[in-house]
Amino acid sequence: MELIDQHTKKIMEQCKKKSQEAGLQFDSSTLEYIVTNRDLIELGPKVMIPSLYDYWVHDLQVIAGQKIYEVYPNNPYETVINTRPAISFYNDNNPDWLNAMIFYHVLGHIDFFQNNSFFKHTRSEDFCGKALSDKREIEKIRQQLGERKRWVDYVIEFARAIDNLVGYYAELKELNREESQGSDRIQYYFGDFLKNIFEEQGINHNQYLDKVARCNHLQKELGVEAGEKTFLKEVEKEYSEFEALFERYKREQKAKPGDVFQHILENSPFLNLRQNKDAWWMKKVIQIIRDTSLHFQPQIRTKIFNEGWASYWHQHLFIKDSLIEGHRDTYAKVNSGVMVMPRVGLNPYALSFKLLEYIEESANAGKLSLEFQKIQGVEERRKFDRKTGAGKKILFDLRRNFNDSLLINYLSDDDFQDFVDRYRLFVAGKRINPERRTVEYYVKSRRGKDYRKMLNDSLYHPPHIIIEEEEQQTRSGGLYLNHVFEGKTLVKRFIPAVLTGLEYLCGGDKPKAICLETTEFEISEEDMWKMAMDSKYQPNYKKLRVVYTMKKKNLTRVVVNTEEKKK
């Protein structure tokens, strides 16, 4: 891996200037490397971070079944990584103009990484440097352990088994809380406190706004601190139990277990046993896996937006760049490969790019306003154009504040239907044709709502697992994990391995019972077959709530609840 040559670097610096003029914002220093195929093979499993820790599984071809899911929040084979300075990768055989185009795409990504609020926690530190020091630390530990070094790999394995459950949103919440205005009490008042009162007494929105206005008014009149104090006095008068509830809230916040990692680090009898000579390094390794996972969380949740954003900018900027001269037709050809929606299948670049352009266009025409939304007539809607020029600004705002889910659900149903119609998108259904022994793809629905639902269902979403402290107490076990059912079941065959790992981390040689409560469906083979052939077929199935218990490497499954569901 070597740095690109000066000549190419110069061209790229020009591209940087042009993109900054267009409004993109990013740190001025970036690093660009030429990579060979060999480099890519080694970098891929390490999610393109050259300094990521060594782990034997990286050396094998890791298989994730096509139908199942992406195991890791990862971006193997991305062109650019979220480090400080941002690092990107290039092929040394490319002509200048192509490298320029790719670089515009890269700059789009860098701008996104460095401005989107979902990446906030990755900004304070250079991940590449951190990964390197983590890697060295792990190497040192391996050396120290000598013959027993394989235990480091076991701990890595068990920690990685739960790293998709890391408390990403909790981390963001903490960061945002620190920045927001007002003391803890004010935050609590306008947050949980009033929310609970609303739910109980049904106070409406306007009353809430009144209180906000009152608080602002006082702060304006008397100064921030004094104003707050006065306001809180008024609150106490109205709700005498406020202070007591606030104290309780504070205690609950402190006692919150955090994610599974944190829980284990704090509470695992094994890891906190004084006699455990290995505890010190085990905790370190677990922390490293957790930090690494946290770093990558935002990327997978903003994949669609990020790709669309980068595509938008490489399209708009490169067209205006003089380097395109003489290569327009070639560019058109290769770009179409990226930008064309396939007949069947989803191209995130294309979809997102078109969505952003659509939003920009709508914003420019003033169609994202309440005024427009109220108009019913088709012709009137079509002709509506206030020429606000606000399109770009809206896009930049979205880029700062939105992730994939927010972006997809941003437009109103009518607007989204418009979007789907314009690009002739449809929900493709899949079914088996037994006579021809093929899988058929057919037009299932052209409704915007259905399309949006399909997109929402495809978004990355790790299972929602909470730790039930009480259950743990009653069973005097190591862990009680509750998988909150949100519509999809867990992949069964992975459960034993994950629980075995947890059993080791919690109990070591003195294993503690690890329980996982989840939902499963009981469905006959025949029904499975019928469902595959006909997507409209409604099977008879039983919804079961089951508890898996892993104790001393033995897994048992107990049904605790059933619900028969029929057509």
Partner: protein, 435 residues
């Protein structure tokens, strides 16, 4: 430089729809392409996606050792060693693993099974179609490396013979004692088996002694009761020598017919299991016959045809099944080419047991003709889920006719498709080739 490179990546870009290797197993890139298997380095022009890793940091042996150590430490084995078909008749070993996590699967009643599409089309109109791949099984299937176009050689290229040797040792597969027929080959060795009197390379003391005693007996020089060896006359003719002579080498050669049903009902796990078993058997035979094994491949649905290595591993056709067609073709080939005389013949068959000819008259007749010519015949039945509880057509007519009892060289083994594991495959192989 510019134009040349432009052409280069243009070709790569043109190939975008055509079987780009995308790491996370999204084989059918254009159909199943989704949000999370789009990568800049693969989708943007100017890059060639890397081939899947061939070089590994650890050798296969080291990996096996690591896996073995896992068991000793009390954890489950994690590395699967699958056999795949490489180029030109090679068998390769592909080590794979999975990283287990608590993650959502696809199943949700009333949901799932849909994606995105673009373009023209009425509601319900079919817009795309795809052959069901051998790699796609019922439920959550794993990637089948052998099915990959152009990516077949991404395992570790061990010699098939070596694999056979390893398998025989590790799995304790039987060694063939009597390999039966031997055929003269074109090879010669020089051997000291012939004898020649008067002159030669090495003196055969015993024979020479015999001759001397004979001669001296005739001459009356030998007194049986009191032999005086120093009074013996040794004539030049008495000396018997061993001489180097050129001998033809006789070797046992085997021809193995791999026959499988490739009709529509075989898609998924049945085909995978059969292929795995056949690869193991082939490697084992290579070792046993010291590489002198000629594999021949027969696929059949309602008709049979002989195919090459590649086609055997990848084909799936939609159609019905007549097992007899395969047997008949094998019989034909054996008769036409006169193979029975010189070669040790083996037939290994894979099927899901379904047969249009449900009373079995034709296949049984063909088997009666075929099996006596063979050293061994093995049949693997991988029962599809709808046959789980009953016997398949094939098994039924075999049992009814009592053929299995009569034919000692015939072995049958059945596994249910939903319980196939590498261990079960190995057990099946052992039954098929064992004593």
């Amino acid at each position: 430089m510019t134009t040349e490179n432009e052409n280069k990546y243009l070709t790569a870009a043109d190939k975008q729809g055509e079987g780009l290797i995308v790491l996370r197993g999204a084989k059918n890139a254009s159909f199943e392409r989704g949000i999370y298997n789009a990568y800049d380095l693969i989708d943007l022009p100017g890059f060639t996606p890397p081939r899947l890793p061939v070089a590994m940091m650890e050798t296969l042996d080291q990996l096996r050792e690591r896996d073995g150590q896992r068991e000793k430490d009390g954890f489950h084995k994690k590395i699967k060693f699958r056999h795949a078909a490489g180029k030109n008749g090679a068998v390769i070993v592909v080590p794979t693993t999975e990283e287990e996590q608590l993650v959502h699967g696809q199943f949700e009643p009333g949901g799932g099974g849909q994606g995105s599409g673009q373009g023209e089309g009425e509601d319900g109109e079919v817009v795309g179609e795809q052959q069901i791949d051998p790699g796609e099984g019922e439920g959550e299937g794993e990637d089948n490396q052998a099915g990959e176009g152009g990516g077949g050689d991404h395992g570790v290229g061990s010699d098939t013979y070596e694999i056979g040797k390893k398998l025989t040792e590790e799995l304790k597969l039987p060694n063939l004692e009597d390999k039966g027929k031997k055929v003269p080959t074109d090879e010669y060795i020089f051997d000291l088996t012939d004898r020649h009197r008067k002159s030669g390379q090495i003196l055969d003391h015993k024979e020479t002694m015999r001759q001397i005693i004979k001669t001296n007996l005739i001459l009356g020089k030998l007194d049986r009761k009191n032999p005086e060896t120093d009074k013996f006359i040794v004539g030049p003719d008495d000396k018997v020598f061993r001489v180097l002579s050129r001998e033809k080498v006789y070797k046992s050669m085997a021809i193995v017919f791999f026959m499988r049903d490739y009709s529509g009902s075989m898609w998924g796990i049945p085909t995978e299991a059969i292929i795995e078993q056949h690869l193991i058997i082939y490697s084992w035979l290579m070792y046993q016959y010291e590489k002198l094994v000629i594999p021949r491949f027969i696929v059949h649905d309602a008709e049979a045809k002989e195919v090459d290595w590649n086609t055997y591993y990848k084909s799936i056709i939609a159609g019905g099944t007549r097992i007899a067609s395969g047997y008949k073709l094998i019989n034909e080939i054996i008769n036409k080419e006169g193979l029975e005389r010189d070669y040790n013949l083996y037939v290994f068959q894979g099927t899901d047991g379904e047969d249009w000819d449900s009373d079995g008259k034709e296949p049984l007749a063909a088997l009666e003709e075929l099996v006596p010519k063979l050293q061994r015949m093995g049949a693997s039945v991988i029962r599809n889920s709808w046959n789980k509880k009953n016997m398949t057509d094939f098994e039924q007519y075999l049992q009814k006719s009592g053929f299995q009892k009569k034919a000692t060289k015939f072995r049958l083994v059945s596994i249910n498709a939903d319980t196939v594991t590498p261990e079960k495959n190995i057990e099946a192989v052992k039954t098929l080739i064992g004593p």
